[in-house]
Structure formats: C-alpha cells, structure tokens
C-alpha cells in the first residue's frame, strides 16, 4: 500500500556497524526521495565546515519515490554527499538496475558514515547486511571488481555500485558506477566513497515493492511501452544523434569552450557509432526505450563491451572540447573512464583546460611529463585519462579538478578553468543555451544539465510544458527575466524527476507523474504538492550551501562566457553579466528567496521547513 519501504540502512564504517531506521510516512511525503531525502539528511546531520573526504562526511544512496516500481523509467537513484569539488552540496543521479534491486532488498536509502580502516564492500542480500573485507577488490577496475564479488558471493545476479581506481585515489571527480556502465558522474561522489575505503555495494533483493493501485501503475506502464516511439527518438541512437546540429548552433563546446566551428563533429555522431560499432542497445530497469549503446571495437583500440558506449556528454567533453574528432579514440577514452571510474565531463574539461594552458605556454611539456598536450592530440588525451585516474605525474594535478589545478598553476590559467563552484561545466554552451547557463550558475550542486533546462528543447516542447505554466517560446540565446521564469517552472519539473526516481528521457507527462505517484504511494497528490516538495529540496540545498559559506557571489559563470568567440555560430554572442545578475535575482525571488538568494522566513514556513532557519542562523 505504499511507494516506499520506509527503511533506511545506516552503516558506520568506522565502527563497522549498521542499523535500520524507519522515518515516518509524513517524512517521505514532505521530502520525497532522491535529492530531497539526501539534502534533508546532509543538512541535519553534517556539522558545518567538515572535510568532504574526512570521516565526518556521509555518503547517501537514495532511491526516488518511484524507483524500482514497475513503471517505465523508474531505474534512477541519487547519490549525495558534501562535494569534494565544491565543498557544498554534492549529488549525482544514475540509472541502471542497482537502485531497483536495492528497493527489492527492502531499503529506500543507505547512509554511509565514517571511514573504514581497510577496504571493504557492502553486501545487502534481500535485507540482510554484511560489511565484507574488500582487500581483494581494492585496486581493481570496475568490471573486475564486480566479477570478483560475483565469484566471492557465488551469485551472478548481484547488482553493484562500484568505484574504480580513480575513486580509491580520491580523484575529486571520480564517479560511482551502477552495474558497470551506468555512471553517477558529477560532483565527486566516487572520491567520497573512496575516502571511506568503500569499494562497492552489492545488492540482491527479492521483495516486490508494494503499491496502492497496482492496476493503475501497470496501465501507465503499458501506455508508455506502446507510445514512447512517437514521443521520443531516444530509442534510435540514445544521446549524441544531434551532434551535427549542436555544432551548427554552437551548443557543443569546442576547444575548452572557446567556441568556433568544429567540422569534425560529423565524425563523432551517435549515428556513426551505431553504423560502425554498436552491436545492440542496452537499457535500465523497466525501460523499453533502450537508449544505452553496447559497443564492439577491436582496433585501433580494443574495448571491453561491458562498459557500454559513449554518451553525448563524453563525445563532446573528450571530443570537440579537446579538439578531437577521432571516434575510436573517444570510444576508448569512454571505456577508460569506466574502467577507472572517472566522470567523463570533468575529465574532458580538465584535459581541455590543460590543453589551453599548453597552447598559451602556461604549461609546457616539462610540466606534463613530456606529453604534447595540444588540442586534437588523440594519444595525449587517452594517456591523460589514465594519468588522472591513477594520479600519475601531471595527472595528479588535474585530478584535483580545474578550479584547484588553475589556482596552483596560476599565471592567468584561472581564465581557462571552465567550472561553476568547482564543478566542470557540462556539454551545453551557456552562450547558446542561456537558460541552461542561468541554471548552471544558481544550482546548489554546480552546473547540472539534468536539472538545468535545455532552452531549445523547452521551446519545442511547449505543448506539454504549457500544463506547468510555461507559455512562450524564447530564443535560446536570450537571457532575460522571462527566461528565468522558464528556468524556474521547467527546472522544477526536471528536479522532480530526480526526487521520484524517473528518467527524464522517458516522455512522461506531468499529469502521468502525478498519477503514478498517487497510484504507487496511495498519498493524495497534486502537481502543486509535488512542486512544493521540489522547492523544499532546492531551498534546503541552498541553505546547506549558505551554511558552508556560499553566497550569491558564487552563482557565477566563468568569465569566458562574457566574451564572444571570434568566429563560428556564437560569434557576437555573450552571456551578459548584468543580465545574468538580473535573471538570478528574479529567479531567487521566484523561489521565495530574497534578492541575495537567502530564503525568506515566509517561504520556509510555506514549505513546512521552519526548522531550517537555525541553519541559516548558523551561517551568520
């Protein structure tokens, strides 16, 4: 009769102990799951000012309210912690099967505390929990680690969340991988996991989650299975099929976001991938769309198909953004990011940062251990992925992320560090998608293309978005207060997907999500109530960051975007700082914050989180 197990597993690795908690139903109604659960827990449990890689940080795996239920697209879960990249609220979402398996094991979330004195992994077998010795796993690449656990546990069907060597070595943008090929990439969650000496969480579960109205859930899922092909093209190529168009419009970053044309774009498309290397399409839990590429490639590099194929973000971050149009090299680099457990966006942007420094003479081959780190140097790019992951030589510096690396290098290199709050910017040019740019600047976790809005896509999707009060098509390159309105309304919707654990690639309508929430949880539901839960989460995340010292001044984009590329589609296009500031101010106010981005007491009361005022006090 309910869409949550109500059970939280709390594991303390310092003590080697664990316990189970059952928050009240009211708690879940207020905060939902995903980011909502995470931010509440982090804010209320983490002391101010702790070291993200120290024992006081906590790493939280949280399912959305719908995760693991038999509804198309419900394979998502969130992972959150104080971010080692930003020092603020960190969070990343991920698909695959692990989240659904955790649901079936009877848990909705895992809170990992403390630091183990030796490598361990967690084994959750249908509700029973074991902290196991991870010595044999430590140092293994991701797929090898899964295989070793399968053998040790004698179960081929385990689902896994694993870090690679990069996480072990505390690369600040190390990722956590679900089932080897699904990546929680952003904000350095893999480093936090590594700091705790937790190699993996293996899960098996056999309990079917309960639902208030099973028939309704089935009906919704059937409808989607029958209709998705008309509503999304994701089943054809997954992400990356729009690359030629992205290059033409300027959306796809070129050479560390400097802009200009990149004719090689047509050599790195998802269409070409499909033609040459994709053997079949893979999927996540309960999803007929199958947007994940399975790759077979032997030459010029051999790759293990188990790591899947590169998504658009990877093709752009390590491709166009590094001046590289060698598809095979990108397939290999993607596989390496998987093996080692690196976020391919931050990896690509860190490398492109170094390439620009190299070009400008700020770095020389002396600094890079002899590597000619020029834009377009395929071998150097691939080599750098490995050096970053293993913190070898110059890689050790880039493993700190562009913000820290540029601060250490100095000499004006800060200009080439393309990050917000320390997180490298994803592959959507804020000069082209200026709503996305605004999103990047204000989001608690730094630049996030999931919760951020894709201006041009919103314009194409108005017929559906009208139901959530988005009324007008606005040019992608416009930055204005009305664009802030679009970011607000559509952004809440994109956040919601995270809180309920649904994939944004599945074309659910707003009303269907409401219906699904009510059918699964049995809770009286309105889209209003869902949006209020999201505003609650966003506001708590803001408060978390304020307490950690963030303020409106940190809601900024790299200066590069205030200048225009000399040529190419973005010639003459800039993100005007005054417009950005004006749009931010109204965005804050839309969320019920004051003009400095500090939540008002009235909004806290409205959202039923008056208790959070004390954390704002703490910040003073």
């Amino acid at each position: 009769m309910k869409g949550y197990n109500g059970r939280i597993l709390r594991v303390n690795l310092t003590a080697g102990q664990f316990s189970t908690e059952e928050p009240s139903e009211d708690y879940y109604k207020l905060y939902l799951g995903g980011r909502g659960f995470i931010v509440h827990t982090l804010l209320t449990e983490l002391p101010q000012g702790i070291d993200p890689l120290g024992p006081e940080n906590k790493l939280i795996f949280s399912l959305g309210s719908i995760t693991g239920h038999p509804l198309v697209g419900s394979g998502k879960n969130s992972i959150g912690s104080k971010s080692p990249l930003t020092g603020g609220f960190g969070e990343s979402e991920v698909g695959g099967f692990w989240g659904a398996e955790l649901k079936k094991s009877g848990y909705d979330a895992i809170i990992v505390e403390g630091i183990s004195n030796k490598p361990v992994y967690l084994w959750i077998d249908n509700g029973s929990v074991e902290i196991r010795d991870g010595k044999e796993l430590w140092g293994l690449e991701v797929a090898d680690a899964e295989k070793a656990m399968q053998e040790e546990l004698g179960d081929k069907k385990i689902r896994t969340a694993i870090i690679g060597p990069a996480g072990e070595k505390l690369v600040r943008y190390a990722c956590i991988l679900n089932d080897i090929s699904h990546v929680a990439g952003r904000t350095g969650m893999g480093a936090v996991m590594g700091s705790k000496k937790l190699k993996a969480i293996a899960v098996r579960g056999k309990k079917s989650p309960e639902m208030a109205d099973k028939e309704k859930v089935k009906e919704l899922s059937r409808w989607m299975a029958q209709n998705f092909k008309e509503k999304t093209g994701m089943w054809r190529y997954g992400t990356g099929s729009g690359i030629v168009d992205y290059e033409r419009t300027g959306n796809m970053p070129v050479k560390n976001f400097r802009g200009g044309r990149f004719p090689g774009a047509e050599k790195i498309t998802a269409q070409l991938l499909a033609e040459k290397y994709v053997t079949k399409m893979g999927n996540c839990f309960m999803c007929p769309i199958r947007c994940k590429k399975i790759i077979k490639m032997e030459k010029p590099w051999s790759v293990d198909p188990i790591y899947g194929g590169p998504e658009y973000e990877t093709l752009a971050a390590l491709g166009s953004n590094c001046g590289i149009d060698n598809l095979e090299a990108l397939i290999k680099a993607h596989e390496l990011c998987g093996r080692y457990g690196l976020d391919s966006i931050s990896t690509g942007v860190s490398i492109s940062f170094a390439m620009e420094c190299f070009e400008k003479g700020i770095l020389t081959s002396e600094d890079t251990d002899g590597l000619e780190l020029t834009f377009g140097n395929v071998e150097a790019m691939i080599e750098m992925v490995e050096r970053i992951a293993l913190r070898k030589g110059f890689g050790d510096l880039l493993a700190e992320g562009t913000k820290r690396a540029s601060e250490r290098i100095g000499k004006g290199s800060e200009e080439f560090a393309i990050h917000v709050k320390g997180v490298e910017i994803p592959m959507h040019e804020p000069r082209y998608k200026q709503g996305m740019g605004l999103s990047y600047s204000v989001h608690a976790t730094g630049p996030d293309h999931n919760t951020g809005i894709h201006d041009d896509r919103v314009n194409k999707d108005l017929a559906s978005l009208e139901s959530i009060d988005i009324a007008e098509s606005i040019p992608s390159t416009e930055l204005s207060t009305r664009k802030a309105r679009m970011v607000y309304h559509a952004g809440l919707w994109r956040h919601l997907a995270n809180y309920v654990g649904l994939c944004l690639f599945v074309p659910w309508s707003h009303q269907q999500v409401r219906d699904a929430m009510e059918a699964i949880t049995g809770w009286p539901m309105s889209y209003w109530k869902l949006m209020k839960a999201v505003e609650r989460g966003i506001t708590l995340a803001r408060i978390f960051n304020i307490r950690e010292g963030f303020a409106a001044k940190d809601d900024k984009l790299p200066r590069r975007f205030a200048t225009s590329p000399a040529k190419g589609p973005l010639k003459g296009v800039v993100v005007e700082p005054e417009k950005l500031e004006e749009a931010q101010k109204v965005y804050y106010q839309m969320l019920g914050w004051d003009e400095s981005g500090i939540p008002t007491n009235g909004r806290l009361v409205e959202l039923g989180i008056e208790w959070a005022a004390e954390y704002l006090e703490e910040a003073r």
Copy 2:
C-alpha cells in the same frame, strides 16, 4: 473545443453603446475567469483614484472558466468593481442560473462603463444586445422588477441580475441578485450598479457551450450526482444547521461580536426552519445538492416565497449578532433584504453597531428617529432594514456602512464598527477561527468568508487537503505562522473555485477540478498551473489596492478582537496583534511579496505579469 466563448460584451451607458471583444485564448489561460478576469480588467482600465460611484468606475460581470457547463456546481459568477465601501478592489460571487444563461447567450463577461442619464436595463437575447428604457422598473422591488421585465419582453424564462431600491439609493452595501434569490452581497456592487442607473440585466441564451471532452465532463458530473450525499450534508438543510455548535464554540458572533453565550441560538437553526417553514429545497444551475431553502410563512409576518430563505450568514448577522432569536423575524428580515437588495451581512453588522452605540448612550432615540435600538429588539431590527434600504432618517447614516457611520458619529463609536477596510465582517468569529481572521485581514476585498479558510473545517478535511500540501491539524484558535501556511494553501484552493466558477459547497476534489478544467477547455492543465493563475489574480488585486493607497497598515482587524469577552466560549481568547502581524508577514512572503506586502519583481515575472510593475510605480 473550448471552455470559454471568448466573447466579452462591453456596454457604455454614457454613450448608450456596446461592443464585443474577443480576448485571446492565451489571455484566458493566464487569468481564467471570475475574479481573475475582473481584477485584470479593473487594474488595466480604471484610472487611479476614481470615485467608485462615478462614471469612471466599471462594473464587471464575469463567468468562471467552467460556469454554465454541464458540471455539478457550475452556476457561479463574479461581479466586481472598485468598491464604494473600501475604495479598493471590490468583488462578490453569486450562484443561481443567470451566469449559465449568460454563457448560453455567447458571452463570458460584461463590462459596464459610464453612467446612463436615465434608468435602463440590459437585454441580452441569445447574443443580441439591447439597452432598454428602465423607467418603469426604477423603484421596484427585485421580484417586481423581474416580473415587469418578463411581461415587457414577453418571456417568462429570462434569467436576471437585478438591484433593488437599496442599490438605486446607493446604499454602500447594496447587493445584486441573480434570479431574485441568489445574492452577490459583499462590497457594494449593487450601489455601483445603481450609480450607473442600471436596474437589471436580463438574459436568454440557447447556445450549448463547447467542450474539449464532453464525455469526461459528463462522467465527472455523473460521479458527483451519485456521490455527493456521502461527502456533504448540504443537501439536508443547506447552511445554518451547525448553529448550535457554532454558538457553543464561539464561532457565531453575539451582539456585535462582543461574544458571550447566546442561548437563543437553538431557536434559529436551519433544522427548525426546515421543520416549520421550508416547503422544499431549491438549487442553482446543474446542482442536485439543492441547498437553498424555499420558505412559506404567513404569520406573524407574511413573506414572498420567491425570495428564498435565510442562510447562516443572515441568521447570525441579523440574529445572534443583534441579540435576536426570533426565527420568524429573521425570515422576514431576510425577505426584506431580498426585496430591497441589501447585503444581509453588512446590514446586520451595521444594525448591531448602532445597537451597541445605543446601549452605550453614544446614540439615543433622538438620533434614531425614536427607535429603541436595543439588542434583541425585533421590531426595531426589521424597521431598520427598511430604513437603511430606503435611506430613511437614521437609516441614511447606516446605509454608509459602519466605517463611515462611526466616523461621522465619533465619540468612540469607532470601537464598535466591526469591519476590515470598510467591509463588515462575516459571521465567523476571528477569535475562534483565527485563520479566517488572518484571511479577513489580508484579502483585497476585505473580510471574505468564501476565500477565507474555516479553520475547523480544514482540520476535518485534512485527508483531502493533504493533496495540496496541507499537512497538519491546527487548533482553530491558534494564530501562528503555521496557521498562515494553512491559510495560504487552502486559501488558494478556495479562491480557485471562484476563478473557475464552481461552488465551494460541491465536494469536488482538487484533482477533479483540474480534470474538469482540462476536459472543458482542452488546455493542458496541472493543479500547479491553476494555483499560479490564482496567485496571479491575488497579486494583481494587491497591486490594485496598493495603487489606491492601501498598505500593510490597512490589513488589520478591529481592536475588539484583541480583547477577550468576559464570558462565554471565547473568554480568554484574543487575536494577538503581534501574532497577527507575524502571520501576515509570512503570508505575504508565501505569495512572493515583501514583508510590507508589496509584490516582488521576481514574483511578477514568475507569474508572467511583469507589466503590472508600472502600476506599482504609479503608487509611489
């Protein structure tokens, strides 16, 4: 295919001309109907500072988005104008059949401008419009006026909106009556109509309104017809069946809101009315609930059954509030209010004000033309209704409303004038229902028990209200920031009923209203979008008032409520001014206004009403 005709009739009585306008579909999507349409029109069309009873004021009749569609409870329409009681935004809603008939005639709203140089009435015959001579109607009581029009037009099936002699004489709380017995009572709309020399609007219509999904509408209506008896008791006695309980709790005002017990309550209940005088129950358009009383009484006073029977507000305002427990006298006074076209709430509170002044010696029988205006004096109360309506003697002063009357009388009588912003307070004690008290204080039209929340009823209705984010039961007498939260969420819902033209007595769920809106209009709809439309209207109404000179200081309750009755259920209970102010501040912020109640730029942008900023400028 749409839930609006899209046609507005604009009538200029000064010029004797009319025209038809067709606002865009986008316009209706933003502002909906009812209050939403009215406030937009008044704000954008009325110059600042005009005389409510002068030629520049406009009187607007506006249907809700659903009014007149075949859905249970869709008989409501709104009437709005600059209020002669407050000088700010005025509006009153009303049921009956007239609104649905206007819909069938092809119009969604009528904007009446200017002032005729002689009495007229408007005749809308299935879309064709005529401004007709009203000389013969002028001076007639309401039912007589309808009869005269029926005869003159040769049509017994006309539906009418009429003012009585009180409206003609500009009694500041004169009402407008739909179909004789349905009353748009509050804020003096009848006086505005009278000032324009417009006696009535008679309507016939034959066009069935179009709908996007007729089957869905029928299905919803069938469901309600089958289920209403389980969800509301209104079909039994209509309003007034809770009087004994209201007296016990302190909700029912006693002797000009001074409080104390009123044992006579049990003599004026709807149950007794039903037992002794109700012959059958009447209804509004498309409503099986039939909550309207039809009365037969010959002695000690004879009444015309056509005026229906007294509702709770009337039984309390002229009854307990005047110290009167004579049921027959209340039936008669109700009928007189109908005949003359008086708002029974303001009438009752004006009389109780005078009674208290009389008791205190501030007024004597010299002032009252010999009337012994004591609490409980039945004959004097009935006499005063007539004198007010016809502005006879002392009645002329009370016809100005308690605010103006007390200002003229002076001598401390202001303490006994129980109004907010000039509108007399309805029959729900703000000390007992402190959420209602907060509502009274902040609403643009003054104290409004329709859009205000009934604290105790909200507590009983939590299972349904949970879907719009109301989580907790809060004692009725508590005033706090969390109570402000209840007022915010539940208040928006109660406003919404007005905007869409649905009766709050029909137990539609939030989701059903969303469904109905989508089925009727064909517009993609979410409850979020509906609430945003309401916030839009509330914010525009606030701006209207700010431009007319209102500020947070005017959001206040009479001082009486800061003191406690010496005995009775409210002994020891007060509305604490500091708590009220604190609750107001957070309420403002919930609406995206600053702490002084001025809408922030961000909220204007969020709601897509940036254009309204210029009116705030004008206020400075």
